[in-house]
Symmetry: C2
Subunit: 295 residues, 2 copies
Amino acid sequence: MSIQKVTVAGGGTLGSQIAYQTAYTGKTVIVYDINDGALSAAKTRINDLDAAYQQDMHATQADIDETHSRLTYTSDPHSAFGDVDLVIEAIPEVPAIKTNFYELISGIADARTIFASNSSTYLPSQFADKTGRPSQFANLHFANQIWKHNTAEIMGHAGTDAAVITALTTFARDIAMVPIVVRKEQPGYVLNSLLTPFLENAAYLWGEDIADPQTVDKTWMIDGGAPMGPFATIDLVGLRTFLNITKDRQGDNPAFKNTLAKVQQMIDDGKLGLESGKGFYTYPDPAYQQKDFLA
Amino acid sequence: MSIQKVTVAGGGTLGSQIAYQTAYTGKTVIVYDINDGALSAAKTRINDLDAAYQQDMHATQADIDETHSRLTYTSDPHSAFGDVDLVIEAIPEVPAIKTNFYELISGIADARTIFASNSSTYLPSQFADKTGRPSQFANLHFANQIWKHNTAEIMGHAGTDAAVITALTTFARDIAMVPIVVRKEQPGYVLNSLLTPFLENAAYLWGEDIADPQTVDKTWMIDGGAPMGPFATIDLVGLRTFLNITKDRQGDNPAFKNTLAKVQQMIDDGKLGLESGKGFYTYPDPAYQQKDFLA
């Protein structure tokens, strides 16, 4: 079960990074999206990654040229899914869209093909039956800025074949990821199981006016030696995403009423985090990256 | 309310560090403990800190000599508490012991003297009335290895005078701490409000066999850029302390039954963390500090 030929379905932020990294490390990659417009946007996102790989990974022009030579683009399902070792699904987090997608490709893909979902939200057992090959289905979850945050969380459902987990683990190493094997279905995998409540607890300290964001971040940076604190991380995640996740988890918890209202107010004020240039910090050159921040 | 003369009551691990750091940064410090035996142990702990300051703070022999010249030791309450600007209480976390202590010193201390508790466990409102000067009482909480983890969490109760918070903030800066002002009483201050549930959530992933400790630590180190993960931190805190805290918070929560049993088993096996040379890692040179840990 050697994985060499990969289709990445969905060329959004993560899909384009997964496709780039997979091609950069030597695999043959097909990028699939639903129509020419989506595919053209995916291509732009992928081309835009050249600069990041040059800067962060010291990629040469030759590396970049080779990466692009291994990438092809199609919106034709038969070309995309008919003859590959692995499909990585990175399409919208909408159950009906995912169900339709798996039903579509289950009728096209070769018997050998492993299906993997990059879903942050859904467990593999929720779609296993739709794939037509539940034993060859697992989640394979990447972090944003995959080339730097190079974890690949691998999580099967109860019916995933152990050999498939092994193949995905090998594949993750092949594409320069550190494989993080999650042995049982766990919402949030490892990273978000830790990160989500951590960010929530930090936001609560601010929401209840117990401590201000910079004070909280300083504490975590000094005592934990971390390069950034939780509020800098919320800025990076984006306040809208953070609000959605926190509403989902704490929307009915009266202890979080003030916190959620304050996050909403920031969003209403256009403070979306890094993406809007202001959030708990202003960008570029946020205060927490200044030399005197911990002085 | 300039704080120059300080008594540190209790020469245990934290008390000795607080006394050393305060003297090292130029203040006059009296170390108080209950009898000659305790005092002698405190003196040994304080002398043992010379090496850490030489190594981590590049302290010269002159710096060290000056530090010791500013330190005196007594078990006489009148000498210790009669004429100082600040008393920092770092005595055992036993309510009856703390109550007796505050009742004792309230009758001895000068009217100007501020009382501050280093308690990790108790809120200032719980002892304010025992101090005889509630408006001059707050918590002032230090992290272990105070010279490196240089946060001083300052937390008053509702009746603490704002000028006292200001004086403690200035004092914290004077002794090279970053003041972390906690505006309302909050169990765990800022640091442990974040750290305690973070470590618990990590332990749960292992307790339920969702992921192994090294995998969890790798995830946090790679995706958060942190120098160590939660299991390395539990080793540092000590498994016995971690068990006590987690039992306190989650002892009745069936979701933590397996996790608590597994921590207990490690303790029974002598795996206490850094202090016993083995825990989730073996010491010195734990795996997470090796170059290939994240490879």
